[in-house]
Symmetry: C2
């Protein structure tokens, strides 16, 4: 409960209707894209300007009230669940494109804008903003920045981090900071811009971003390569890169994913293959033709059973949409879908997929795997039922072992989804106790009273190893 004196101050800042604490507002902001997590906030606020955000933070910091800033809350790490209550700050009203600068190839936006709306606008001007998280139709640029989101084009073009040139952000105490600018180079002090990207709302509330744009590729070509054997598909990924070709997109789907995606999208994919690679190259047409030809012969020599090159953009878009729909398609199978994010050096993806399958068998759980093979970024996805606590427990044990396997293969616990609540107990596996201590120091420098998205990134308890009989209380069933 927030003191009515405080809520009155908050309403004065944003206007009566933009602070809500009715049950509907609280419940609808108590969860995010992550299954089985829920926690009610005390209030929900919808600022319109950076100055409002600053004024809100002045009030909240004086009263030591936690705040969770969010866009559309499509994250998959429990990153925007208000686990310590307080105020959820929804950024959707701050959704303006402030400028597109054609001479400098930059765009400056408020962070509440929907990513796909931004990219459509940019593309209509003949420009290109490559980061394309699968959530882009609903997620915001601010959310993408908070999570340093990846996407299907990460291999060639990098992720959100690579396109953020400057930020405006509000600190916990309400002070406004501006980093970077329309500058291709800036080494004036520590790189606060890149530090804020991926900081998951725990260091500052990001209100504006200056983004780098690039010229769009002149042509594109999309192909599928199908394999009866997973290792051959994975080896093809490494071989393409070894041949000094960096495709724009290089995705993998395993058999379980293929079947579900095909049932959903009706593409006529064969249901008996072990894996499909979805490969896209873009650039000048000669380069694209040459690369696709070479990729085709690499696929053949690595034993692809069938290769299909999309005949036109329409067919290509169908394939890409199918891949993007993998999560949705899998979600139809059973009531609860848990999509994870283990990432390894790309040379180890075959080992990783096999380990995932072994672990799924060991715990007798259903896990389909797809992901950005070129980045080594896999999304093992469990289909389960939150009401079956015993099965969910096995799923959690399986994921714990999957994270362990990723680390042991030189990988990381999260490639693009963030740490949030779900991965916090495992962060030490990747970065060590010393790394956590340094990160805690950084957190303290920005947010001394731990008001910004508290309870995320840093866990109270670190998982030392898999303990079968442990009880996990943090995941409770959402609203159903």
């Amino acid at each position: 409960m927030i003191d009515p004196i405080v809520t009155r101050q908050l309403r004065q800042i944003v206007g009566e209707s933009y602070y809500r604490d009715d049950p509907e507002a609280l419940v609808t902001h108590s969860y995010d894209g992550t299954p089985m997590l829920q926690s009610l906030p005390d209030g929900v606020i919808y600022p319109k300007t950076t100055n409002q955000v600053a004024d809100i933070m002045k009030v909240l910091s004086v009263h030591r009230i936690p705040v969770v800033s969010r866009g559309s809350a499509s994250n998959l790490c429990g990153g925007t669940v208000p686990v310590q209550g307080g105020v959820v700050m929804v950024m959707h009203r701050m959704n303006r494109i402030l400028e597109v600068d054609q001479e400098n190839l930059t765009a400056t936006v408020q962070t509440g804008i929907i990513t796909a709306e931004f990219t459509s606008h940019i593309e209509s001007m003949g420009l290109f903003y490559p980061p394309d998280p699968s959530s882009m139709k609903i997620s915001t640029i601010g959310g993408n920045i908070a999570e340093s989101s990846g996407g299907l084009r990460g291999l060639k073009y990098g992720t959100t981090k690579d396109y953020v040139l400057g930020l405006e952000a509000v600190l916990a105490n309400g002070e406004i900071i501006r980093t970077g600018g329309k500058l291709m180079k800036d080494v004036a002090g520590y790189d606060l811009t890149k530090l804020l990207v991926g900081s998951e709302g725990t260091l500052a509330i990001i209100t504006e971003a200056t983004l780098k744009l690039i010229p769009p590729p002149k042509s594109k070509k999309t192909m599928l390569a199908m394999y009866m054997d997973l290792y051959s598909a994975a080896r093809t990924v490494s071989r393409i890169i070894e041949h000094r070709i960096i495709p724009a997109t290089l995705e993998i789907m395993d058999n379980a994913t293929i079947r579900v995606v095909d049932d959903y999208a009706k593409l006529g994919l064969p249901h008996d293959v072990a894996a499909i690679l979805l490969i896209e190259q873009d650039g000048d047409s000669e380069t694209v033709e040459r690369d696709i030809d070479q990729i085709r012969s690499i696929c053949e020599s690595e034993g692809a059973s069938r290769i299909e090159v999309a005949e036109d953009r329409e067919q290509a878009e169908k394939l890409l949409t199918a891949r993007r729909s993998a999560f949705t398609a899998l979600a139809r199978l059973r009531p609860t879908t848990i999509l994870e994010d283990a990432t390894v050096p790309r040379s180890r993806i075959a080992d990783m997929v096999l380990r995932i399958n072994e672990i799924a068998n060991k715990y007798n759980v259903q896990i389909a795997t797809f992901g950005h093979a070129g980045d080594g970024n896999l999304h093992p996805t469990a289909t389960t039922d939150a009401r079956d606590h015993e099965e969910v427990h096995r799923v959690e044990l399986a994921f714990e072992e999957i994270f362990e396997a990723a680390i042991s293969l030189g990988g990381t616990i999260t490639g693009e989804h963030g740490v949030g609540l779900v991965k916090a107990p495992y962060l030490e596996w990747k970065i060590g106790a010393v790394g956590i201590a340094v990160m805690r120091g950084i957190k303290l420098a920005f947010d001394p009273h731990n008001l910004l998205n508290p309870g995320k990134v840093f866990a109270k308890e670190t998982r030392k190893r898999v303990v079968i009989d442990r009880v996990r209380t943090s995941r409770t069933e959402p609203n159903e």
Copy 2:
């Protein structure tokens, strides 16, 4: 003076001959590439392994002795001058290439390796590491990482920061931290990798780096465009980008630079033109041909008086070498050369060059300007004489106004050289008092006793505005 008990401990760690405190060692490590700065250390140490670095730091931190880690000290911001004495740690013995991973396109190196030696090795394997600071024949990968160095290929390929995937570093207390990895994506916690890149030796001692490699471009073409009018040259830069062409290199030299470079390199450049653009494109040969043709017609329509396309690689290399030699060539003119680093949005470079010329006239000092026009990263370079204190004072006032002008044009005080000692008083102009406070908090999180390169980045005093009668004592004449 360091207590003999401590020096004995340090000698035990590295071996008798790898800790020195004889006058020759102290004097030769009392300055760096920055003119007019000198301060004697108390000792110089040459570690061979990460564990030695960790052991050294354990000893130094117990005794609260400052340490300045350095590669070849070619930086231009006073970044490696040991202004608070203590120990200079020279990283040159840690110069091994630990691995080149062809499947993952990464290289892991000790940070004391010379950049050009590393790139030659990589290129001999048919791979490409784009960052190419002009100092690369003498500078180290560790120095490049500490300063987040740029280079001539920054426009298309980015800077050092964009190629560092993982780091091993030793903290002030001797603990070892490992960040990132052979991972194209990793969002496990705050991005310590990118935070350490560009941290100028103030947060940790970087001992190993995992670097991203890319396929080399298949062909290259180099051209010069000459202009009787500076504005036309600068406008051409924006026009090329607006035409959605991102050249690999897009450099500018003003008349003063052209004359000096030509006298030095005997290229037969015309001495009467106002500016020359040096443009290089790389990629597949069809793309390069098409881009160069289009660039040529943009140059023509913007009023270039003469355009020359290099006929072969030899001629092209000659042009690039000439540009790289600008600093050396200018250094022949007078005893002291001060090369600065003002950076603006690329659309503002004409305004910036004109402001530089106005300021040079106002203070009656000689400033030649060249730089990475495509990045908006200009290097106004003053030729002066350190023994003429009155003139040097005017040069310093001129640079102060140049930094102010850069900021007022939406730019920054340093694009690729770092803050170090020289820019520290101006950092607040770029990042504000709030930004400085956050950076100080980060510094404290890593290095609570301020032992790592103390006196850098953060200034005791901030320049509020240009004050004519101030006395600056920090710059004293080096060893001559």
